[in-house]
Symmetry: C2
Subunit: 358 residues, 2 copies
């Protein structure tokens, strides 16, 4: 039997609840597919801060590095919102991404026919949306230096950050973008602000250069402000979107809300080698934490991405995706995706139903 | 009689068409209100590039500076898209904003009951949206230095920009935000990325400090990724949004598309003193230029903002706004806002109908 070690980071808020459900499903899939999963559960985010004083303890990081894949629940909460930067849960997440060198963040935004009513967009606009955001995750303004709060030459206090991309960083994420598009509808839209920013002009130049390696993929460019509009106007025009860290943060959240089911959407963060990081797109939702109200499907689908992109276990991944679809077809819904005529369930019961459908 | 000198910059694409209509309306309003407008029409953007070799000729800038207000049509087009940075139409616009020191960009996004069907959002979500984005316009990553394309210490080619805000820049735009909210529903939401960026932490600190001057305004903070989602999920939650240059670029375009009538939306850019700059939010739409298809209402409503915010002529502004509403009530629609049962008209005819309704 194959063995994989999975670092499990339940994190904060609803993280532990959805993670507990997701682990059960991974175990069942393992037993059915003849795969043994070893789980190492470690503290991360706000709960790690409370426990150890830092958001990403060394033990957590080294466990993550030694494992085959990392599964994260969610991090953050009001409690730590006013912490100084190095003691924010978010800083732990950024350190984890950087240390694992997972530069490619894949964020699907798909509208399932069963859930088209959850979108705030009109049915005819929402129906059939199926796009993938490929976001650069370990560069740009998130990590660029110099950065800080200081004083300028006039003695005025300033806050500053640096948006910076080296050619190799753009080239490798562009290749992920083209490869991803190649497996989809072969349309890649690179989003930047090249009419204003040099970092974007350089981005556009590099992406255009890499395009010659992928003659079968159709490349287009769009300004970020226009992309933010077009996602609302006609999201179906997009297949694969390639963009930098900060624009990807904004556009992938916008795209996920367009599906109306942010509680459904997983993500994968991959490097050139080493374990990938898999997490739902939604946050830790502190207001509903501990009430068995969370939608576990995004974490469950993150497990499917882990199997597919992290371990190459496509069969096992497909089984999970199908079980989720079956469960939705049977009418089970958590509060966030509930509509009249369906069965309202909590986090645990939703998990049990998916287990039954596997 | 009062006299005002207006610098008119028709610009590119549909700019000249919508501007010609808007000027007629301003003239009529002037004669009715006993105001004399002197117009100085100057080249700007791509048409200035073709004519003079630069996107913002010195003569244009000095005319603008000496006038009481500047009215801009639209700039840009495919023709100049691959020009080097200093020869892009957009660079002329950035120079104009910087030279006029118009640091406060007011961008309303309102859904008129007559046009609620034009939104891609469901009626119950779109109905009643009435928000104002207050965007910082002369700072941040648009203007920050260092910037460029160069080489890093490892000899790798890089593209880089600097996001930087000094305290005085944040304080003055924050005050505009609070003042604007005070005249509206007294709710100000400041949007940043303070969980990651020092420039945003500093922004949040300064905005919070300025809040003590406005105890009657309710201040909240939101991360930009969440704001991009919330605009889709429930845009009605927002009254006034305060944000930096790049986030404002993205969010105001998203917000305007949510109204479904980007051809309707004006903007005002104001400084501490000197002439303001007034322009529609939409671009130059080169694909429909010269075909009498453009919607002139955004430019006409920019004239209303010019009268109200630029010249303090509130009566005259109100007359224009009412004339636009009347024209819509009579069922006149350009293609972009057309729906069955209404009368499809071109740019000129729409202008004539508004003239009749003044
Ligand atoms: C929590 C935060 C640091 C993070 C980011 O900005 O990347 C989150 O918004 C995300 O998109 O995963
Ligand atoms: C044309 C461009 C430079 C400009 C900007 O980015 O500010 C435009 O998008 C806008 O929002 O007015």
């Amino acid at each position: 039997t194959k063995r994989y070690s999975i670092t499990v980071l339940p994190g904060d808020g609803i993280g532990p609840e959805t993670m507990s459900v997701a682990k059960d499903i991974l175990k069942l899939i393992g037993s059915l597919e003849g795969i043994e999963f070893g789980f190492q559960e470690m503290p991360m985010g706000g709960s790690a801060l409370d426990l150890t004083g830092v958001p990403l303890p060394d033990e957590t990081l080294s466990a993550a590095k030694q494992s085959d894949a990392v599964l994260l629940g969610a991090i953050g909460g009001y409690k730590w919102d006013n912490n100084p930067k190095h003691l924010k849960p978010e800083t732990g997440l950024l350190q984890l991404r950087e240390s694992l060198k997972v530069f490619a963040n894949l964020r699907p935004a798909t509208i399932l026919p069963q859930l088209v009513d959850s979108s705030t967009l009109k049915k005819e606009v929402a129906e059939g949306v199926d796009l993938m955001v490929v976001r650069e995750l370990t560069g740009g303004i998130y990590f660029g230096k110099p950065r800080g709060i200081g004083t300028n030459e006039n003695g005025e206090e300033i806050g500053f950050n640096t948006e910076v991309y080296a050619s190799y960083e753009i080239d490798r994420i562009a290749r992920v973008g083209f490869e991803t598009a190649r497996k989809r509808k072969k349309k890649l839209c690179s989003v930047d602000k090249a009419n204003v920013l040099e970092a974007s002009m350089f981005w556009r130049n590099r992406v255009t250069a890499i395009a010659s390696e992928y003659p079968d993929v159709e490349l287009s460019h769009m300004y970020v402000d226009n992309a933010a509009m077009q996602l609302v106007r006609n999201p179906k025009q997009f297949d694969t979107i390639l963009t930098n860290n900060i624009f990807g943060d904004i556009l992938s959240d916008e795209a996920s809300m367009i599906t109306g089911s942010i509680g459904m959407l997983p993500s994968a963060s991959l490097g050139a080698s080493g374990p990938g990081l898999f997490e739902p797109i939604h946050g830790s939702a502190p207001d509903i934490a501990g009430q068995d109200k969370a939608n576990p499907l995004a974490t469950i689908l993150s497990v499917a991405m882990l199997l597919k992109y992290g371990l190459g276990e496509e069969n096992a991944a497909k089984r999970i995706e199908n079980a989720v679809l079956d469960t939705l077809n049977k009418g089970f819904r958590t509060g966030d995706i509930y509509s009249a005529g369906n069965k309202l369930v909590g986090c645990k019961e939703m998990g049990e139903e998916v287990l039954k459908s596997v």
